[in-house]
Symmetry: C2
Subunit: 267 residues, 2 copies
């Protein structure tokens, strides 16, 4: 992980530190124990007076340390987590919890409440499916700019694949249908599936579908990251949407434009 | 910032630590100097052997420490940053760079390449405007679940306001028009403006419009966060889109549905 050292800067002591460590200050680099300050002593200090410890909180730069994990493990966590915090939260927790168990930080401390807002296509506005916002966050933090190829791949796969695929061991509801969204938009994706299943938005079946979709996106994201770790990842979809259409776009233009929505100038 | 201590766990030493600090290990709480290890000594250790220092990489839980900043300062940084990394990157950098100068970590180390993928409505797919993804990330990390009200507010404001407003001191291109997007979607927002301005997507004018829009969203986000810091923030738009429409949705239904796109069951 390049650039770690360069990113470290001073942090304030916790206020409680001042009394006990009077006359003692902290260097600029993180936890430092000098020779003579043994592990036992240090840990005792920590254990008996945790509030006296300064915590240096910096966020590592991508790429984050990655170890291959089981896509189905991430999927199962994502499925269960949907019912805690919806779609974006579910995908990020599915991948990061599995990675946290294997790798540790920064996955363990990643604050899931910070990215929960992606649900329902951004707090219910029906735009990008929140599972894809989750996949963008996962690939972005793990792989940095290289992750952009991955999220482009995942969006294409999402838009062209019959979903959901995942079959939970203990489903919370029974659903009958899969559907192809032909769009990464929450409104269109969930709307097409609801029409096929003939259920309403606030139904157990719709919730179950979205939970399983989160599992699918978590698994797909892990498959790509595992291949990337192996050095075998090749993007399946290398199209630049903006260059293809001369505007940012999906691939379902005629859903709107054939119905009379005016095309853009020059198209 | 609640929960910091609870979130800290062990991290590996940097490999280089092992030799110099043989027999010395690290407690579980971050940087710790024991009595007798004076500031001068510690800093010398750090200064003369920075590579021997362990760095604790954990991500703090929201709410992150916040100090009021000048919205126009964030806007100017966002405007300039658009030309480095596009819309999501620009908004996050606009706010976090200004905060980093005032507050320090974790803003300073926040890795902007991890969230660049939001550009063009998620790597060019034309979905949620990348400035709004940036605003979601900013409000989510700073305010946690409370940030969801903020991003809902910002999406509504974005969709109903003539933009761009921001006037850079040294514009990179001249533009004539503002437009109301009536949608948080990149494709619709930029498409409507391009039609009014009569320019193509890969034109200096379109880029300038998006850079100024990033400035506007950064400024709006800071205004809300400043009010929140003062304890005076009240969401201006409290509607739940999903409850209003019985599906996740925007407010421009007739753009598509009046043209013949089938409505959903029960609507």
């Amino acid at each position: 992980m390049k650039g770690k050292e360069g990113k470290v800067s001073r942090r304030e002591f916790l206020a409680a530190t001042a009394g006990f460590f009077a006359g003692v200050a902290v260097g600029s680099g993180g936890l430092l124990l000098l020779p003579g300050c043994t592990q036992k002593t240090a840990e005792k200090q920590v254990n008996t007076g945790a509030e006296k410890v300064q915590i240096k909180e910096v966020i590592p730069k991508p790429p984050w340390k990655y170890e291959k994990i089981d896509p189905q493990k991430a999927a199962q966590i994502a499925y269960e987590s949907w019912y805690e915090g919806f779609c974006t939260y579910a995908v990020v927790k599915g991948v990061f919890k599995a990675l946290g168990e294997k790798v540790g930080e920064p996955y363990k401390s990643f604050p899931l409440e910070a990215i929960r807002w992606g649900h329902g296509g951004v707090v219910g506005w029906g735009t990008i499916c929140g599972t894809l916002t989750g996949a963008g966050i996962v690939t972005g933090f793990i792989a940095g700019k290289e992750g952009e190829k991955m999220i482009n791949d995942i969006v294409y796969w999402y838009s062209t694949t019959e979903l959901p695929i995942f079959e939970p061991k203990n489903p919370k509801a029974t659903i009958k249908n899969k559907s192809v969204s032909n769009s990464p938009l929450c409104h269109i994706s969930v709307g097409r599936w609801m029409k096929k299943e003939n259920v309403k938005f606030f139904s157990p079946e719709r919730k179950e579908r979205c939970a399983r979709l989160a599992a699918d996106v978590a698994a797909k994201t892990v498959e790509i990251l595992n291949a990337w770790k192996d050095g075998t990842y090749k993007p399946a979809y290398t199209v630049s949407q903006a260059k293809k259409y001369q505007i940012t776009a999906q691939n379902n233009c005629m859903d709107c434009h054939a119905k009379g929505v005016p095309p853009l100038p020059g198209t």
